[in-house]
């Protein structure tokens, strides 16, 4: 590149600058979206955790195994809900969660993708897609989460789904997001033998309670996971765009240096030529 003319360098600086403008703008947009997403993720966390803890305790204490939600359906397809983003340029965010979910998928699995990238990915991999109605992760509301949960719970009850797993990205901090999977159905059952005085009293009955609670639980977990994933996406994009902006800055600095050198070189050359010309005459 040393031989590039000043004009060529100038063009490269211009193009670099416009790239930098775009990445900077994306970073700012992601940062402002991140603020609201993070607040949402943090305020939904107690719900997510309490719900999970309560279900965990119920599993530990329960010794009423009549509910169909406690048993896997051997004939049903394993179903997966995978939450990814709508857009790329978010570092490894989409790729990490999609790869993780795909690597854990069993043969003949069906998937309910949330987010455009997830829909595209699973279609390309020829995985059965349950529905594409939730292609836009940004527009999925809490009501939608409960609708999805109801649909999946019904599918589990009628035997079309054998088990249910959720893939999402955990928002650990601004700089760290970890993709993870969570087994939702069948509900975990503790195999430990317990004294019978610890039985849980279900009102009006275990069957009715489980039937009412499980869709609610799934919806709650789904909503929590969605909040976490959205926050993760924005954080990942912000970090990626921040480093892209920094890279662009570096390249622009470098090109500026080259440009100045080339300009100076040209001037020096011109002077040398003039001086040489003057001496000859």
């Amino acid at each position: 590149m040393a031989g590039l003319s000043t004009k060529a360098i100038k063009t490269r600086i211009k193009s670099m600058q416009s790239t930098r403008q775009i990445t900077k703008a994306m970073e700012l947009v992601a940062a402002s979206k991140l603020r609201s997403a993070q607040a949402k993720a943090i305020s939904s966390r107690p719900y997510f955790q309490t719900l999970y803890a309560a279900m965990d305790e119920i599993a530990d204490t329960n010794n009423d195994f009549t509910s169909p939600y406690l048993h896997a359906n051997p004939n049903g397809k394993p179903a997966y809900v995978v939450i990814a983003g709508d857009r790329g340029l978010a570092g490894g965010y989409n790729n990490n969660i999609l790869k993780l979910a795909y690597s854990q998928m069993e043969e003949g699995a069906a998937v309910l993708p949330i987010g455009k990238k997830a829909v595209e990915y699973f279609k390309r991999k020829n995985v059965t897609v349950i529905t594409e109605s939730y292609a836009e992760a940004a527009s999925v509301s809490i009501g939608d989460c409960y609708t999805i949960a109801k649909m999946l719970a019904d599918g589990f009850l009628d035997g079309s789904f054998g088990k249910l797993t959720l893939g999402y990205t955990n928002f650990v901090s601004m700089l760290s997001q970890t993709p993870s999977t969570l087994d939702l159905l069948p509900l975990r059952v503790s195999t430990e033998k317990r004294p019978s005085q610890n039985t849980i009293l279900y009102e009006p009955g275990s069957e009715a309670v489980f039937n009412a609670i499980v869709p609610e639980y799934l919806g709650g977990v789904l909503y929590g996971a969605l909040c976490e994933s959205t926050a993760s996406e924005q954080a990942a994009r912000r970090t990626a765009m921040d480093s892209a902006t920094k890279n662009a800055d570096e390249i622009i600095d470098d090109l500026n240096l080259r440009y100045n050198r080339a300009r100076q070189g040209a001037i020096t050359q011109e002077i040398t030529e003039i001086v040489a010309g003057a001496e000859q005459s």
Partner: protein, 133 residues
Amino acid sequence: MSSFHLQIVTPDGLFYDGQAESLNLRAAQGGLTILPRHTNFVTTVGMGPAKVVLDGNARTAACIGGMLSVINGEVRLIATTFEWAEDIDRERAKSALERAEAKLADASLSKEEHRLAESAKRRAQVRLSIPQA
């Protein structure tokens, strides 16, 4: 007086985390009160007022849907909607009630629409039934 640990959460966040002497709410099968040393218990929550008592002071709230679990003395109320009496937007509830009633008056509703309007009406009624704090 003896108390128990109570947590009240909804998707909007944590509403209560601390000791309580009693919790009164409307479960699927009718009103019930949880007192300390309650047996392990799980039920679904209906729509209605909820009352938390601590040090003899009662706080009321509108509580709609969800589940209640009492496991080894830990009480968790995981509601779909939970609003303390002072946080209820009465104007909004009133207009929601009017809208739902107007919708129910329309005979051409599908079953699903009817169900939605009916539950919207119930929610508004529950909110309005809570005495102002």
